[in-house]
């Protein structure tokens, strides 16, 4: 395969994974548990946009903005209803609660929208030829949106008071509290941001391919892999992890040395292999900063 084509494929995949990975890493960092529900927020966000755009006839961009905001608010709601009561519970208990939530969201999507494959009705895209690579305009949009979202998040973390209080709480909760930061409030902001980012990721996947009730679940282990690879709680790590993972996946399939060809049917196994190797060799991740 051509190098530029390979790079475009890696960038598209990494953009989608990084956004959902960002969602998981934010929750993991502040609430100290691996949430199985973030991928379902991605699914939910994608379906909400379907409801607003195809269902209610809104402009797709407006529908996407509303869908992202509603998903973020629903994230805050789940914290108030479920996770606020589990601050003192052990991490596995919070994980179980998040699995219950994930099943709940997935089945609600199934009940409302059914199991059939849906799409945003954009039709077949004519690919552009950029540097010899075939790229549909949607894929360019995906990379651009993801880049803007992450750049915006970086500025948000460093330039705003809420961003600074999130960083302070993530660094040292007690210290943040003693300097007058309302950490419970910070947790709510984080839920909003995490679920909103997951929704953006879900919408981008929906734009590139289709919507299925298990579209988020299918990426669960890949998301875990991306986050652990980059170092839990490290938002830049999630981006680097997504790039490494997407590269491993795409280059792995492109490998064709002599008679050896990587079996495509084992593509999902790459996530497991990278995940287990990272945990065994460098559990703090590539950009890891703390190990408790």
């Amino acid at each position: 395969m051509q190098a530029t084509q390979l790079i475009f494929n890696i960038l598209t995949r990494a953009s989608e994974l990084a956004l959902i990975g960002l969602s998981l890493t934010l929750v993991y960092d502040l609430l100290d548990f691996a949430s199985f529900a973030q991928n379902e927020f991605a699914t939910l966000g994608a379906y909400l946009v379907l409801l607003f755009s195809v269902g209610l006839g809104m402009n797709l961009i407006l529908a996407a903005v509303i869908g992202v905001i509603i998903t973020g608010l629903l994230g805050m709601l789940t914290d108030r209803v479920i996770f606020r009561w589990l601050r003192q519970s052990s991490a596995p208990i919070r994980m179980v609660a998040s699995i219950g939530l994930a099943q709940g969201i997935r089945s609600i999507v199934q009940v409302f929208w059914g199991g059939q494959i849906k799409d945003y009705g954009l039709g077949i895209q004519e690919p552009l030829i950029i540097l010899g690579a075939k790229v549909t305009p949607i894929r360019v949009l995906i990379v651009v949106v993801a880049a803007i979202a992450m750049w915006g998040f970086h500025l948000f973390l460093h330039q705003t008071d809420i961003g600074r209080s999130i960083r302070a709480t993530s660094d040292n909760r007690e210290l943040a509290e003693s300097t007058g930061i309302d950490t419970e409030r910070v947790v709510l902001y984080v839920w909003f941001l995490a679920c909103a980012f997951a929704a953006i990721g879900g919408i981008l996947i929906g734009l590139e391919t289709q919507l299925r009730p298990n579209m988020g679940e299918a990426l669960l282990l890949a998301t875990f892999c991306v986050v652990i690879l980059g170092g839990i709680g490290n938002v830049y790590g999630a981006m680097v992890g997504a790039l490494i993972f997407a590269a491993a996946e795409n280059i792995g399939i492109a490998i064709n040395v002599g008679s050896f060809q990587f079996p495509v049917k084992y593509k999902p196994a790459l996530a497991f292999i990278v995940l287990i190797l990272t945990l065994l060799i460098r559990p703090t991740g590539v950009l890891g900063r703390k190990e408790s």
Partner: protein, 303 residues
């Protein structure tokens, strides 16, 4: 109605056996195993394949348990140097890898199509009363598993396991080989889960990689959370409640006219919500674990 009742009881018994095995790891030892369905899968596939190849039933079941024990040991290995939550992710990744392997390697067990028409042992002997016979078989095995695991729980070995759950560092300071105890807990759980898996396969007579999806592991976790983590009686109650929720659609479909996929989604929704309700409102479950006071501290009136 009677047929449904017996079917429900057999399924409850099978899942109670698997739930007890997971409780041994999660409730007692504090090992968050999120890959329990894989051990069921190993038991189910090994004994089904061997029985179909003409090996006597009991040998196939035992072989499944042995393979499962080896897999349990492999999964236990990284627990030596990983945080508990990282290890939990490894356990689900390992289980999914195995499922992917069975799904892809068609020569081994028909891949995604699964094994159909798994023969039922002694079926010619019992004829129409087969389900009833199977119920008693499952009941006896459940009883054996229950008493064996309770015996282990009350033994000094079980005390170390509960110690690991409460304070791993303390157990290490007392000179216990933490990894060895964790590995044995995983192996015992693996043996029992494989037995449950074999019983499942020969009763349902059809297994595929989908039969052992992560949702099944979650179902077993729910039984423990709802029943009472660490309390074997509670876990059996949990198995009854969750199996009732999970199998009742078979009964309800005669009365409620809804599409099957919708009923399945509503069933998953109700199990998810039930888990959340219990985790938030009653984390100790229906029957909480009872504190066990060691005799030589209580005999002397407190000192």
């Amino acid at each position: 109605m009677f047929a449904f009742l017996v079917h429900f009881l057999v399924m409850t018994g099978v899942f109670a056996i698997v739930a007890l095995s997971l409780n041994f790891q999660v409730g007692l030892t504090g090992l968050s195993n999120f890959g329990q369905a894989a051990f069921m899968m190993i038991g189910a596939y090994t004994s089904a394949l061997m029985y179909m190849a003409g090996v006597p039933f009991v040998f196939g079941v035992v072989a499944g348990m042995v393979v499962s024990a080896v897999f349990a040991l492999i999964i236990a290995l990284p627990s030596q140097n990983l945080r508990a939550d990282y290890w939990a992710i490894v356990s689900i990744a390992a289980a999914e890898s195995l499922r992917l392997f069975i799904n892809n390697e068609k020569w081994l067990a028909e891949g995604p199509f699964g094994l159909r028409g798994i023969p039922r042992p002694l079926s010619s002997l019992f004829g129409d009363y087969y389900t009833l016979f199977y119920f008693f078989l499952v009941l006896i095995l459940l009883g054996l598993v229950y008493f064996a695991l309770e015996r282990l729980n009350k033994s000094p070995f079980g005390r170390v396991l509960r110690g690991l759950r409460e304070a791993e560092d303390l157990m290490e300071a007392l000179g216990k080989d933490v990894f060895q105890f964790k590995a044995v807990a995983m192996i015992i759980g693996g043996l029992v889960a494989a037995l449950g898996g074999s019983l499942y396969a020969h009763y349902i007579t059809f297994v595929s990689p989908e039969s052992f999806a992560p949702a099944v592991t979650f179902l077993i976790w729910t039984m423990i959370i709802v029943g009472g983590s660490g309390n074997a009686k509670g876990v059996i109650i949990g198995a009854v409640v969750i199996t009732l929720l999970n199998t009742s659609t078979r009964l309800l479909k005669d009365y409620i006219y809804l599409p099957t996929s919708l009923v399945a989604a509503l069933r998953t929704l109700s199990i998810g919500l039930l888990t959340i309700v219990f985790v938030v409102a009653r984390p100790q479950g229906i029957l909480p674990e009872r504190k066990q006071v060691v005799s030589y501290t209580s005999k002397e009136g407190g000192n």
